[in-house]
């Protein structure tokens, strides 16, 4: 109650201020008049008496402050006064204010983003009850959590330290809800999954351990909330519906809670299926003890059990399994890890990457603080006269420092606020972003309260940090000296720590600018390169026929019908079929090969490890891959004729020694089958744009049939347009053959996006970091130039008075800053050129030996220097010697 009263009094006091101020003024005025009355009575004339009375009274400003402090509510009142004063001062120097706020906004924003990502990936546990006792099993000698189904059952039934163990696996299936069948990603989970994790359904119900009664006994599925929202439009009637997965009927039991996205970070499954259905959908044998197809096993520890006890328990079960099944079970020792990042497999690199990133952004913030510190020092030097005057008038140093800190905190909070706002926008976009359209990968990095608190704290701390830089200066100020003699010229060290810091900043900025330009040029080049196939005028239609229930004997006929259907479309020139795609998310198979005279087919004796593609005869034509010599395939290359292959030139060189020596000759694949080379295709890029030439081979689809079906459609230029969208026509034609076929149709360059993801991200992050580096360098140079200028203002005034030209003035004022810029830029360019060699591993044809890049860097650094020194240069040129000299 008393506290409340006091608070109320304070607030009231703060608001009654102006009234109290007026009263105080009147009272002090009355005092002076009374004293003057006495002096007049003593014989002084009125004017002189009042003057004398005022002098006797002493520093009114000082007493005013003391009075307001004495009468309570002074902290808030002083703060408000300080704030008002700080705002007024900051408004008077908008260039300084904007530069400072922007620098800090960037630094704080970067820190908020990185912290938020770290928070989401590492600090924030899974969205399940009691996540702290949830552990995943990981093998001790390798960062993998996989297990076979029988081993999982033994672990689950024999463990005494876990409540129970759940298992899950990741699966891609064709989902047919009656309209627009598509391929989707799901989690196959053991029956006890939801109950063991302690989850409640949002709608309907979950499947339970009792539903599992042997293979294929539980044709049920639970939708994720997000998938129910997008695919079923929040329809509660979806529960109870029967849909087809790979052609088999499944009943939708319910919908998972909105904030539950599976137990693996990044991977947000569309739905959950019982693990018992795996054999039907994916064909993994639940009885094979040696087949480790289960992705991860995890569970809650029993209360009071430590991870070490649980590990010992698991290891004893592992030892038992090793002994009992020596043929199928290898070394079985465990460590416990957090499930969300798949143990150490993702956990280690992610943690290392985040730690590196956090360090980098912390350094950015530190550099920003250093720059703002020198900016503040420059300002304090400029204002030394004001400070001296206030000190002389009786203001305390404490009070003046408080004012300076208020300015610093004001800037840091404004910068922090803007930075946080920007980072929230960015993080929201990141969370909504799905980098790969065919994979359910999400980065759920929405900021939470922790992020806001950290950002505000960082802002405050950095405000105090750079606000503290001019403290010594103010404490040293001797009012009489300053007022009498003007700012004394202190002769600085030849090279100060601040100079070194600035050069380092500029150099880093130079490296970043150089490498981002190199990366951008490389990206531009790679869009116009030939990779062993055509990108333009090419469309892809992909499906897996096993997903729509085709048995191997029916697949070849269906594939032929699909080719014919697409070939019949207007505008289509040729249609090829393949089971894999170079430079794509779909990928391809690869196999080791042996020379024909190798008899011991051990992997160490292999002649090469080559990607292979099972293709239709017309594929080379449709894909735009040239045949250098020999022949392509025909539909006659089938099961009844000897195995043949077309290989690329690198294959011929590597396995046969020469291209000429390859045609007509034989080699062996993994299982010892002899294969004759009938043609040689040009080399291409297969896994990445930056790879060295890779040997590759092509087999006729009829000799090695697969259900994976990718149709490459090459059309005449201009035949795909708004009035005739080829993609829709292709979908129509294929749906007429089979309405339940999941289909993915897109252009070839779209498929390339997946591959360009890495280089594009690298380029974008380099660009962003380069921008930050540039802004930091600008404020750094700006601060340093402004500071040295304010120190030498009088000297420059004298030079101007003695007839110095503009050029000499500029050299005197900015020479040091420009020297630092030149040294830093040169170092940055050199290091950037060296760094580009590393970049060449990520970005195709990234080379700094490019006049455009070099010119670009020099230009960028020049512009940077110009922007940074513009305001100080204007000030130096505007120096009026008369005014300067008169002032002292």
């Amino acid at each position: 109650m008393r506290l409340l009263d006091r608070v109320r009094f304070r607030i009231a006091a703060t608001f009654r201020r102006s009234e109290m101020d007026a009263e105080m003024e009147a009272e002090l005025g009355a005092h002076i008049l009374h004293r003057a009355d006495d002096l007049v009575r003593a014989g002084m004339n009125r004017v002189a008496a009042e003057r004398r009375a005022r002098i006797e009274f002493g520093g009114r400003e000082k007493y005013r402050e003391e009075i307001s402090e004495a009468s309570g509510g002074s902290f808030w009142r002083t703060t408000i006064l300080d704030l008002r004063f700080a705002l007024r001062v900051l408004r008077k120097t908008p260039g300084f204010t904007i530069a400072a706020i922007l620098t800090l906004a960037l630094a704080i924003g970067a820190n908020a983003v990185v912290f938020s990502v770290m928070n989401a990936f590492i600090l924030r546990p899974l969205n399940v009850p009691q996540p702290q006792s949830l552990y995943a099993l990981q093998q001790e000698d390798q960062p993998s959590g996989s297990a076979s189904y029988p081993n999982y059952l033994d672990l689950r039934d024999r463990t005494r330290s876990f409540e129970t163990l759940v298992a899950y696996n990741v699966i891609q299936v064709g989902l047919d809800t009656g309209e627009n069948p598509s391929s989707s990603w799901g989690e196959e989970a053991s029956g006890n999954y939801f109950d063991a994790l302690g989850l409640q359904p949002y709608l309907g119900h979950f499947f339970h351990a009792t539903d599992e009664r042997g293979p294929n006994s539980a044709p049920y599925m639970v939708l994720s909330y997000a998938y129910w929202h997008t695919r079923f439009h929040d329809d509660p009637g979806a529960v109870g519906r029967v849909v087809r997965l790979n052609g088999h009927p499944f009943t939708i039991l319910g919908v998972a809670p909105p904030d539950f996205n599976g137990t693996l970070l990044f991977f947000n499954p569309d739905f959950f299926l019982p693990l018992a259905e795996d054999q039907l959908l994916a064909g993994n044998d639940p009885n094979a003890r040696g087949n480790q197809w289960i992705f991860q096993v995890m569970g809650h520890l029993k209360p009071g059990i430590t991870p070490a006890q649980a590990t010992a328990d698991l290891n004893s079960i592992g030892a038992y399994l090793e002994k009992t099944y020596p043929n199928d079970v290898g070394k079985m020792r465990f460590v416990l890890r957090r499930p969300s990042l798949y143990g150490d497999y993702l956990g280690k690199p992610v943690r290392a990457f985040m730690a590196g990133l956090m360090l980098l952004t912390a350094l950015i913030l530190l550099a920003a603080c250093a720059n703002l510190g020198s900016l503040f020092a420059a300002r304090a030097a400029d204002r030394s006269k004001e400070v001296a005057l206030r000190l002389a008038l009786g203001s305390s140093r404490k009070r003046i420092l408080r004012g300076l800190f208020t300015e610093a905190i004001l800037i840091s909070l404004a910068g922090g606020g803007i930075g946080l706002l920007g980072s929230v926008v960015l993080l929201r976009a990141l969370s909504a972003w799905q980098p790969f359209p065919t994979l359910p990968l999400h980065l759920s990095v929405n900021p939470d309260a922790k992020v806001y608190v950290v950002a505000v704290l960082l802002a405050l701390v950095s405000g105090l940090l750079f606000g503290a830089v001019p403290v010594k200066q103010v404490l040293r100020t001797n009012p009489y000296e300053v007022v009498k003699a003007g700012t004394g010229r202190s002769v600085g060290k030849r090279v100060s720590a601040r100079d070194v810091l600035l050069v380092v900043q500029i150099a880093i900025c130079g490296v970043l600018v150089t490498s981002s330009l190199v990366a951008v040029r490389g990206l531009m080049r790679s869009l116009h390169a030939h990779f062993g196939f055509d990108i333009a005028n090419t469309m892809l239609a992909s499906t897996d026929l096993s997903m729509s229930g085709y048995t191997p004997d029916r697949i070849p006929a269906m594939q032929k019908r699909m080719i014919e259907a697409l070939k019949a479309l207007p505008g289509v020139e040729s249609v090829g079929l393949t089971d894999g795609l170079p430079l794509s998310a779909v990928g391809f198979g690869d196999s080791i090969v042996f020379t024909d005279n190798t008899s011991d087919l051990r992997p160490s004796n292999a002649a090469a490890d080559a990607p292979f593609f099972n293709i239709s005869p017309e594929y080379f034509h449709a894909a735009g891959t040239s045949i250098m010599s020999g022949r392509t395939f025909t539909w006659q290359d089938d099961k009844n004729t000897p195995r043949v292959a077309v290989v690329n030139r690198q294959f011929a060189r590597k396995v046969f020694g020469s291209e000429a020596g390859a045609i007509g000759h034989w080699y062996k694949i993994k299982d010892g089958t002899r294969i004759q080379v009938v043609g040689i295709a040009e080399d291409g890029k297969y896994s990445s744009l930056t790879e060295d030439p890779v040997p590759a081979m092509f087999f006729p689809i009829l000799q090695s049939p697969t259900s994976s079906t990718i149709l490459v459609v090459h059309s005449r230029p201009g035949s795909d347009n708004a009035s005739y969208p080829l993609g829709a026509a292709m979908r129509n034609a294929l749906r007429q053959l089979d309405t339940g076929m999941p289909l993915q149709i897109e252009t070839r360059d779209k498929e390339l996006d997946t591959l360009m993801f890495g280089p594009r991200m690298a380029t974008a992050s380099l660009g962003v970091l380069g921008m930050m580096g540039a802004i930091l360098s600008i404020t750094g140079i700006f601060g340093m130039a402004a500071y040295s200028l304010s120190k030498r203002l009088k000297e420059i005034g004298i030079r101007v008075a003695l007839g110095a030209q503009r050029r000499e003035v500029l050299r005197a004022a900015l020479g040091r800053a420009m020297n630092l810029l030149a040294v830093g830029s040169a170092a940055g360019l050199l290091l950037g050129v060296l760094a580009s060699r590393v970049l060449a591993f990520i970005v195709y044809q990234a080379t700094p030996r490019d006049p455009l890049v070099l010119a670009g860097v020099v230009l960028a650094m020049l512009i940077l220097g110009l922007v940074a020194t513009w305001i100080p240069a204007q000030r130096a040129l505007a120096v009026d010697p008369m005014k300067l000299l008169r002032e002292d």
């Binding site: 009263e23 105080m24 009147a26 009272e27 002090l28 009355a30 005092h31 008049l33 009374h34 004293r35 009355d37 006797e56 009274f57 002493g58 520093g59 009114r60 000082k62 007493y63 003391e66 009075i67 402090e69 004495a70 009468s71 309570g72």
Partner: protein, 113 residues
């Protein structure tokens, strides 16, 4: 103002209370009264009086009201509250004890020990 002693810290408040105890005074009046009752022996900076006055008002030892002075000018008059009267009594006793002790100590001669 001649040969005057600096105020000991904490004595100004007590002097003000004593000055006002003799009757309500405005700020300048307090100053004159202190000068009078100390026989011009103590120096009070004119401005320094006011922070002390405001502090005493805030502590509830004085209360202030506007009135008209002998010079026919508007001025703020201070008078003691009950709490102020009590405080004056306590502090005066304390000072007297301290002064007596100090006087006795400083007046001690060798033969008395």
């Amino acid at each position: 103002m001649g040969d005057q002693a600096q105020l000991l810290p904490g004595t100004l408040d007590l002097l003000i209370l004593k000055a006002v105890w003799l009757g309500p005074l405005h700020g300048y009046g307090v100053l004159l009264r202190i000068s009078q009752i100390t026989g011009q022996a103590l120096l009070v900076e004119q401005g320094a009086l006011y922070p002390a006055l405001f502090r005493l008002v805030r502590q509830g030892l004085l209360k202030a009201s506007w009135g008209v002075s002998d010079n026919n000018r508007r001025a703020k008059f201070y008078e003691l509250t009950a709490a102020g009267r009590k405080r004056l009594r306590e502090e005066s006793d304390g000072w007297n004890r301290l002064a007596a002790a100090m006087a006795s100590a400083l007046g001690a001669r060798p033969e008395e020990i």
